[in-house]
Symmetry: C2
Subunit: 434 residues, 2 copies
């Protein structure tokens, strides 16, 4: 693994926007689903997934869900339940109440917090199933109080007809209320605009291929979407107290995700840099996903030696990584200086997979430096707020003329008159009828 | 004003995406500013605003700010200060603390809440100045704790060189820390990417013309942006207890904003429908912005008679209006049934301008039906959250094998090994070195 100077380093960021042909294909699919509903869904499923369904087969039945439970190991079920519990406990602490502020003049100001009514979660149907991703998308919505959580996923998994049973079990455990076997841009269109079988949702989330991402961008505005994630990233900030084998294993756990994933060690210790580089090579040698991890390390990985932990912190704040591990003598003394990082893992035992699977915080975290201004998925992503204004007669009489003055300064006489007509009728303002 | 049946009514929604030429022009401006910095800003300001500036004149000085205070009426200053106080008090109630959850096994999970570091607010330079809009964009950022709040605004107001003094005073009162005289897409580019004189920001908000909106969309991802607002909307839900003159005045206060604004009365009372329609015509007759309001009422306005307040509520929830006024006998008994509305005004004295200018809740509210899934601007728009995970050795030893099981079910052996290497070295797991 290459060791570079901080001054030479620049994080490569690549975001895929899709080709004009891909965008055009997605628009056509959306138009077809809007026009023809279920019929288009079934035809597109035949075309893209090579699976023949009739309308009655779109929705996964309770019996199929029960059957999935029979197909997974008890130890998996127990593990996913523990993880779901932890995720639920963490996200419950994010919940907020509606609040009100009662004024002595009889007025009431407030903020009403309500869950979205219906949310759609896309789950890809690739060779590997990612039940953890189902939990991380669904549980925040469920904790927020969303009454209808709909999952869509392709009817075939890795070319084989059927939905992965681990995915189905995770969905049921997380609190999904409906599951449809439809994938791709057509599934996104169905969630956005509805068909005879699938009612439209208020928000679509979950990962997917380029067609799914383009479809989400296309329907945005008509429904809400989550942000479209870039390749995953880890930065490890370490001093000479860090264990090189732990550091290397954590870098590789990120690198194995994707050839475009990025794994970076920033360290004030030249000897740790050398040791970690050697450990990465050693551990890579017998990693099952060796090719992917090696390509990621080669193209997007780096070990950066800095003069001090403080210099390293500056670099971290510029990178704003998705995941940050801090393996220095006193990690708690550093965390207050971190301005930009999506999730922060402290100390030698907080390996990133602890957060990916189990601890409770969400594993859907801003990538591509967007931790500067955005946040991990949480309960707030599934609520909406409304302002509440009840002005008493006394409050209006007291403040009406000030409000009118402000309106007139903006040249909005109609605004002033909406107040004036009340002051006149309530008898505290003389003047013409407006 | 036309009275229509609920079944015949569909709200027209129009969103401007810009022509290909406008998009191309905006991209060129952004490219120029990224390449040439201040020099491009000064040249584009000369071209578009017909104002010659040198680099030293870009930033508004303290002396100019002081001079602006001398140009506004004391009553305006007092009014804007009262409004700013109310807005600050309301938004302070939205603030959230970082929190942590200490576990008995020595672990700590938490969520760090931090303000964005630097925010840019665009203020248009049209004929009318909207100091209230400055307050509504700036104060939530200031309450969130954003240390650097930058305002940009064109160097000429309605063709006359100089920035409107009401805007400058509102900016100073709201807590803006830097002001630059630059507008249009070039100002957005400067905020997004920085120039020699203007440091880049993390988020850009505030209204603007189509070029400003397109530029914001173009830079989104490199920085955060607020949502791009559609035309303003009001729905008044009223029964026969409502005062027709109040209803009409409130409809017109919305209609005078913009020819595309929409003002809709939904009422269970046929007599109120008739009376309000007549009042609208009467009040329109001597409204200064009569032409605009009449066009809005003509094209986007409607009075809808429903069979019951309950039917009206159903229609409101489908429309998801930006502003909702509820003028029925017992408005508090209705508010719990409102699922979708950006801001809710209750009773006869809560005229929309109360909220537009003064009461405290934000007046930047989701339009175009997006109140189904989004919220008025608030403190949350100017913070970011990071997850915090500190796992103790005990917690890792306790849960390590469960985490490994979940990772292996997803085919991510590298994730499992990041845990395994620790369990091995800490002596609780036998097996090969990985």
């Amino acid at each position: 693994m290459r060791i570079v100077a901080a001054s030479e380093f620049e994080l490569k960021r690549e975001v895929e926007y899709g080709s004009p042909e891909q965008n055009e294909a997605v628009r056509k699919i959306i138009t077809a689903v809007r026009a023809e509903g279920d019929e288009a869904l079934l035809k597109l499923t035949q075309d893209f997934d090579r699976v023949s369904l009739n309308r009655g087969q779109l929705r996964v039945t309770q019996e199929e869900l029960q059957a999935a439970y029979g197909q997974v190991e008890p130890s998996f079920l127990s593990a996913i339940r523990q993880a779901a519990d932890n995720i639920r406990v963490f996200h419950q602490k994010q919940k907020r109440n509606s609040w009100m502020d009662l004024q002595p003049d009889g007025s009431l100001l407030g903020q009403v917090v309500r869950p979205l009514k219906r949310v759609g979660v896309y789950v890809p149907g690739g060779k590997a199933a990612y039940p953890s991703s189902v939990l991380m998308n669904v549980i925040p919505a469920q904790v927020a109080g969303v009454p209808e959580i709909v999952m869509v996923t392709p009817p075939a998994t890795g070319g084989k007809e059927g939905i992965n049973p681990y995915t189905l079990v995770a969905a049921a455990e997380a609190g999904v209320t409906e599951i449809y076997r439809v994938g791709g841009a057509q599934a996104v269109a169905a969630l956005a605009y509805g068909t005879e079988s699938i009612a439209p949702v208020d928000k679509i989330c979950g990962p997917g291929n380029i067609y799914v991402a383009l479809a989400k961008r296309e329907v945005y505005g008509d429904v809400d979407i989550d942000s479209i994630a870039g390749p995953s990233e880890i930065v490890v900030l370490a001093d000479d107290s860090a264990n090189a084998a732990y550091v290397a294993a954590d870098l590789l756990s990120q690198a194995e995700h994707d050839e475009m994933a990025s794994a970076i060690l920033i360290t004030s210790s030249a000897s740790l840099a050398e040791a970690a580089a050697a450990e990465v090579d050693r551990q890579l040698a017998n990693l099952p996903r060796q090719e992917i991890a090696a390509a990621s390390i080669q193209n997007y990985g780096a070990i950066i030696v800095v003069d001090s932990v403080a210099e390293g912190i500056g670099l971290v704040n510029r990178l704003a990584p998705e995941h940050l591990e801090i393996m220095v003598q006193e990690p708690m003394a550093v965390v207050g200086m971190i301005e930009n990082a999506g999730a922060i893992f402290l100390g030698p035992y907080s390996s990133e997979p602890v957060g990916d699977y189990f601890a409770g915080p969400n594993h859907i975290i801003p990538t591509n430096g967007t931790a500067r201004f955005s946040s991990p998925v949480d309960v707030d992503d599934f609520i909406k707020k409304s302002s509440l204004i009840y002005y008493s007669k006394e409050a209006l009489l007291q403040n009406g003329s000030t409000i009118m003055e402000l309106a007139r300064h903006e040249g909005l006489e109609g605004h002033a008159r909406a107040i004036q007509v009340r002051l006149e009728q309530e008898g505290t303002l003389e003047g013409d009828q407006s």
